[in-house]
Amino acid sequence: MKWTKLGKIFDPTQHRLPNDCVQFAQAPQALVFSDFVRIYFSTRAVDKSNGKYLSHIAFVDMRKDFRHVIGISDKAVIPLGGLGCFDEHGIFPMSVVRHGDTILGYTCGWSRRVSVSVETGVGLAISRDDGRTFQRIADGPVLTASLHEPCLVGDGFVKIIGGVFHMWYIFGTGWKRFS
């Protein structure tokens, strides 16, 4: 097979984004509606307390020709986690899947560490308004490190196949220090 490139279809710097986000449109994830496509992406704000990044989910609605932007999320799509939570400093990326009347968002939440930059986990947030906003089901993750998957569990991609939820994800085998 072969992919025909259609070109860049979205430039985040040309739009006003929620959460004071100013650049980056990472990890696009499409949710197809009857007459438009909602594309979620991760974008970034600057943490005023220390100048580091925070990642937020936003979306752009496009006509099915992918040439016309018809809407941009104008408020937070998912709140970040509270103090000490796995998704306190960002959500990047998110995988969406329809389930009945809801849309499930499997988030890759991340928070900052001291000896390494980051740790991640997979969270779940649910939308009941066609994907405009999502509510985190709880403060903790649905998938996290385990005996033989020691760190950086994240990037979950979920499909429901034959009534069974399947998640593809990544994990870290370890960190290496390059001085």
């Binding site: 103090l83 900052r112 996290t144 005996l147 998957e149 220090r177």
Partner: protein, 320 residues
């Protein structure tokens, strides 16, 4: 009715020399009984680093079975290595709980790492020993019990038990981080999980012990002991703020259950409190109950959560 008769402090880490990893603290005592001695695992710290930050190691002291105030031997080195860079147990292995499993011993331990917005996070690891509990090899580089939707952070204080064919793990799970001035203080509650093999765990997903002194009461060291047809849990609890002194510091509480799930808390029955003076006059914490040669003992920590060691008390009356 029962009460605990205090026997005094049994181990003082400051007395031990020649171990760079052991300067102070002997926290969270947990026993493994041998024919002629009792091995008491504890967690300790080397001096703080240049930034005033600690790491924790776990080790053991062997007490003479015929005279628990006679120290026969102290571990020459920690029972577990710290984890590698970025691993959950990079900065500490504390506390630890050890159980026999056939000819081996198995340790469940809390592994610590350092975070940016809060001081730390903790998850529970497992390791096995083929040398009678002198050294342990981790079963994996990650935790055996970690975070879940309703247990979002700070899984610590494991206590491993077996009743019948099942494995039980009592532990604590963080509920919230509470900002007190500039400092983030953890609030945690007592939880439980069950397993058929000690590796694959099912969380009960329930606070076992109702909070008493305040909603944000922190609870730790859920130590379960079976006697006289019931399960008895001794644990410790503290207030959420200003808990490093006498008024709001740790005390030992008590609860009982017939099914391990529903617990009745009756702290007034605990039968032990701070002393009027001495090494445990400000706080008492981290109880561990064990039976030895017809006597039921409680090992516990005194002031500054075990900075100066742990002591023993003996049961008077019956656990009923």
């Amino acid at each position: 009715m029962f009460r605990w008769r205090k026997l005094g402090k049994v181990f003082t880490p400051q007395d031990i020399v020649g171990r760079s990893w052991l300067k102070e603290f002997a926290q969270a005592p947990a026993t493994l009984v041998f024919d002629d001695f009792v091995r008491v695992y504890f967690s300790c710290r080397p001096p703080a680093d240049a930034n005033g930050q600690y790491v924790s190691y776990s080790a053991y002291v062997d007490l003479d079975r015929a005279d628990l105030f006679s120290v026969r031997r102290v571990a020459e080195r920690p029972i577990l290595d710290l984890g590698g860079v970025g691993e959950f147990d990079e900065f500490g292995t504390y506390p630890v709980s050890v159980i026999r499993d056939g000819g081996q011993a198995r340790a469940y331990y809390a592994g610590w790492t350092r975070c940016e917005s809060v001081p730390f996070n903790v998850a529970i690891g497992v390791a096995t020993s083929i040398d009678q509990g002198e050294t342990f090899t981790k079963c994996g580089n990650g935790p055996v019990l970690s975070y879940s939707p309703d247990e979002p952070f700070v899984l610590s204080g494991p206590k491993i038990r077996r009743f019948g064919e099942a494995w039980y793990l009592w532990y604590i799970a963080g509920r919230k981080w509470k900002m007190v001035g500039e400092r983030a203080e953890p609030v945690y509650k007592i939880r439980m999980a069950r397993s058929l093999d000690g590796i694959h765990w099912n969380k009960v997903n329930k606070d076992l012990i109702a909070s008493r002194v305040e909603e944000d009461e922190a609870q730790a060291s859920p130590d379960v002991f079976y006697a006289n047809g019931k399960y008895h849990m001794f644990f410790c609890y503290r207030y959420s703020i200003d808990y490093r002194g006498k008024n709001n510091g740790y005390r030992i509480g008590y609860a009982s259950s017939t099914d391990l799930i529903e617990w009745t808390r009756e702290d007034a029955k605990a039968g032990i409190d701070v002393s009027a003076e001495g090494w445990d006059a400000e706080m008492i914490s981290y109880p561990h109950v064990f039976e030895l040669d017809g006597v039921t003992y409680m090992a516990y920590l005194g002031d500054q959560v075990g900075r100066y060691g742990f002591g023993l008390a003996a049961l008077e009356g019956t656990l009923d």
